[in-house]
Symmetry: C2
């Protein structure tokens, strides 16, 4: 069995476990930030994935939201980047609209990406160079759009910040409309399936985007930080994701005019 | 058959027709505002509902988004308030996340509400005094929440407006998180099912909220305009919808401080 097939089975099993635990009580632990809830389900799901990867592939490295491998910086070999529950607030408040996300990298290069929309039982997946799939349905290449004819994904919260608000406000005003779903992984696959034309946010951790971006790449989507640079799986990033022509429009007409804001943002990202 | 049972069958049939038409080509007509797309599906769906209501209940009045009964102000008898496709942009760009909405009023009082999430095949419905249902599952009464522990529904676009932005910004900052789904009817039923704790917007037409609010009332949700007054089905309204304690918090801590902004908004609403 290839690592790809193994991961596909594992993420679905992990999702089935989540559904099973959801029928029991959900214990919620509050981290320092009230927006950063963590449940026993996050921990149990990450532990389940880590345990199974370790057992089958003892040489693979794992970076996970709930604490695994945060000191890893060595790109050699195979690295799994795992978000056990992306969209934790949705999980806690809605019991849906969350995903398990896994990105697998070989010597620092994308190998395969998985985003499992657990409650809808939809697995988005891609192996580099072999196209992307929604369950067993191949996803078409995404279409070029212009901002004024695009629905974009952006959280209202960013518009309340003084400098970031100044940067994002003209984008929201120029877009046809905006949406906020509360799960970065699902928002990235929404771009990959053409349901959103773009998704942007000033701060994402690698586990939030690793799986989704590998899927996105296979349908000709473009992902970068707000400076246009590559996304790193070893640190937090600013993120803009779109079809290539909209990505270029956003970079040239908007983000390039806010270099000092973005520089300041990047200085603070990993502190 | 009661009007309630008749409407329940009719809205599902209308949804089946929408799915049938979606398999053919969707012709898109652009209204004056590019954000206000209208499709032949909107028109065909409203016509289908109007035709069937007229045939069975020739004495009933109908107010519909696509042009029916906009001059009606007489509350006597039975009035249907119909949105054939709520979330037209989602319909056009996503082919999902839209709803058919019907509110039925008897002598100006709520009689029954229906919101049909077509692509997920979920019908939210309520007859006044008899509780609300998600398909055949009764919905529980919604729980009280405080803003800082609430996920609220609000479109990012409102935060880009000078006066409205000033009013909404502290609400978004105080909330646990914000979402924007792009269909008022689905956002109102998200409050009724407890998936959002509140939904607010400066401008909604009666057909956007009529069905959803009748459902919401049955689970103890509160709906008003931003001044705290009743929503009218004969004109555009500002809208805030929440569980009663959060509604009170929003009115007292936020909207009451912006009376002049809200007065100005209301003056412009129906022009």
């Amino acid at each position: 069995m290839s690592v790809y097939e193994f991961a596909k089975g594992l993420i679905i099993e992990a999702g089935n476990n989540v559904k099973k635990i959801m029928k029991e009580d959900i214990n919620i632990e509050t981290k320092s930030n009230p927006n950063d809830l963590v449940t026993n389900v996050d921990k149990a799901t990450e532990a389940y994935i880590v345990e199974n990867v370790n057992k089958t592939y003892p040489n693979h490295s794992i970076i996970g939201e709930e604490g695994h491998g945060h000191d890893i910086t060595n790109v050699e070999g195979i690295t799994w980047v795992v978000d056990p529950i992306d969209g934790t607030l949705n999980f806690v408040h809605q019991q849906e609209n969350f995903a398990i996300s896994i990105g697998i990298f070989q010597d620092g290069q994308p190998y395969a990406g998985f985003v499992y929309d657990v409650m809808n039982d939809v697995l988005y997946h891609a192996k580099r160079g072999e196209g992307a799939f929604e369950n067993e349905q191949p996803l078409p290449q995404i279409e070029a759009t212009q901002l004024h004819r695009s629905i974009i994904g952006i959280n209202p919260n960013w518009l309340t910040k003084p400098k970031l608000g100044e940067m994002f406000k003209p984008i929201v005003e120029s877009a046809r409309s905006s949406r906020a779903y509360g799960s970065a992984a699902l928002e990235i696959v929404a771009v990959a399936t053409g349901k959103l034309a773009a998704y942007m946010t000033p701060r994402l951790q690698p586990w939030d985007f690793a799986g989704g971006v590998i899927i996105l790449n296979e349908v000709n989507g473009k992902a970068s930080n707000l400076k246009g640079g590559d996304l790193s799986i070893y640190q937090a990033n600013s993120v803009v994701i779109a079809n290539p022509s909209l990505h270029e429009e956003l970079m040239q007409q908007h983000f390039s005019k806010h270099q000092s804001t973005i520089n300041l943002l990047h200085e603070r990202l990993n502190n």
